[in-house]
Symmetry: C2
Subunit: 311 residues, 2 copies
């Protein structure tokens, strides 16, 4: 599909930055990556940590396509894509984009990996506000397919289309968020369920491990196959979601009401009285989580999804 | 493990009843099942619909272990387990259990598949209130591993233990809910996320299909591997969930606050002004869902989970 190799500049090389670098290098075998980060031990740090993200790939050929830039200018001057994951504060981002704009080629796409600072805020001092959008990953991006593509009112359709096209060519799942909103969509959904989970554990209805087991053996696999709307639409039979709401609506509302009451009673806010015990239970249940094992299992499940779709 | 074959009486043969019948028949090759339902075409109905639930099993040997009982007494008199999925109203259930108690062997376990009427209410007129608990499945039970085992204050530990042991021998995932609560746990969690989903779609942040795609490519696979507590605990690194809440807590609370405001503004209650458009979008996106395809994909994913755990 690509007629020439892409060059991606990774600005900010924390865990998300390295995971993205690995994603580009492994999914697009001709892609070149330049990393810029002002930490003094960048070379040692990248050599030590990048390899573990280079799953099923030849490390030498990946490293051969990688440059560690000594300046922001060097990193972005040949870039087709500039992907930023610097500190999560608006002033940093507002300041860096005009600088990037000054050095990068005119057609380069500008992506921020922020989980909460909308493009409309980041573009404040840019010349061309149409070039920037948010590509918010679900961690870690070298494993998880989702990218929330959050455009600002200024982002051009062309920039959105080229962004979607790049990610689709890499076999990822970019989804356009139509309006900027607090937390975007994935975190909003996940945190809504997490709040209910905290509330139920805080009340002693169920333990932390058992709640996790419930999710792993029901919603997890179900929602890997069909999202909530499709699932409940199927649950309504021929009449779809409309029938589902007509038949089960009272039960749904009963749950929502009980949830609201429990949240208030339990004071389920961040830092509320419930929090210490829930954190303690979680620590006792899991200790230090082996994320390599988690990532391996996740990859197996994602392969099974792909194979099922082909079948 | 079982020293003799189990006999399960299925009282109420709707889709849940048939799915459970198939589960017992296929997962325990020596198990006998008796079905009782007062529909007049029971024989034709079971012959037509049961086979599609008998996945990877020899249909003839399954049907050879199946009896259609002509009365409740006949269905339960040799039962080790009586599993009820009659109409979802308390008066029906309050009435039927004393009758079952009168005919069933003294050691038989009594399970209700209700999604909302707690055992403590159903036992009202029983002699021995310690025998009954809720085994609430996640649909369809012949596919989905989860069973919410919801005890009442009267349920004996022995009944809980024998229930867990039965399901574990069948390779299922029974989880004990410690306190009866509205909607139990799985639906409470799923409906909390669903409410947020409805709210975000109603506001035009994202479309129905795109929201489903977001869940399918992020939370779905993640939560198939590790539930929300374990996931966020891992996200906090060495300090676990405590660190996660310290670092990301403001973002979490920001999402919860935005969610509360949006729910109020959008009047996200069942039957609210948002509902018609969301149902219409869902219908346009999916038409009639092919649940056989969904179930096949789900089985493939569950196999991948099992294989990963063994590896």
């Amino acid at each position: 599909m690509a007629t020439r190799s892409n060059t991606v500049a990774i600005v900010g090389a924390g865990t998300i930055g390295l995971s993205f670098a690995a994603l580009h290098l492994t999914k697009d075998p001709s892609c070149k990556v330049a990393i810029f980060d002002n930490r003094s031990d960048l070379q040692a740090y990248v050599s030590e940590h990048l390899p573990r993200y280079l799953v099923d790939a030849d490390r030498d050929t990946c490293f051969a396509r990688l440059t560690l830039a000594e300046s922001l200018e060097e990193a972005v001057r040949d870039a087709d894509i500039v992907q930023e994951q610097g500190p999560e504060n608006a002033s940093f981002k507002i300041q860096i984009w005009p600088e990037i704009e000054q050095y990068a080629p005119q057609k380069a796409l500008f992506w921020s990996s922020t989980s909460g600072i909308p493009a409309s805020e980041q573009v404040r001092d840019m010349q061309d506000k149409s070039r920037l959008l948010v590509c918010h990953p679900y961690n870690p991006p070298h494993i998880m397919p989702l990218l929330e593509v959050v455009r600002s009112p200024d982002t051009s359709d062309d920039v959105v289309e080229r962004t979607l096209s790049y990610w689709r060519n890499l076999g990822r799942a970019p989804v356009v968020i139509r309006k900027e909103c607090v937390g975007f969509v994935a975190n909003r959904l996940a945190f809504a369920l997490f709040r209910e989970a905290c509330s139920l554990v805080a009340q002693g209805v169920v333990g932390v491990e058992d709640l996790d087991e419930i999710v792993r053996t029901s919603m997890g696999p179900r929602w890997t196959v069909a999202g909530p709307f499709k699932s409940y639409h199927a649950g309504g039979g021929e009449g779809g979601l409309t029938s589902f709401m007509a038949k089960i609506g009272d039960t749904v509302q009963g749950c929502w009401n009980a949830s609201d009451e429990d949240m208030k009673r339990g004071n389920i806010v961040v830092g509320g009285p419930w929090q210490d015990d829930v954190c303690k239970q979680t620590q006792e249940a899991y200790g230090m989580v082996n994320t390599s094992e988690r990532d391996l299992k996740t990859r197996n499940i994602l392969s099974a999804v792909k194979d099922s779709c082909r079948a």
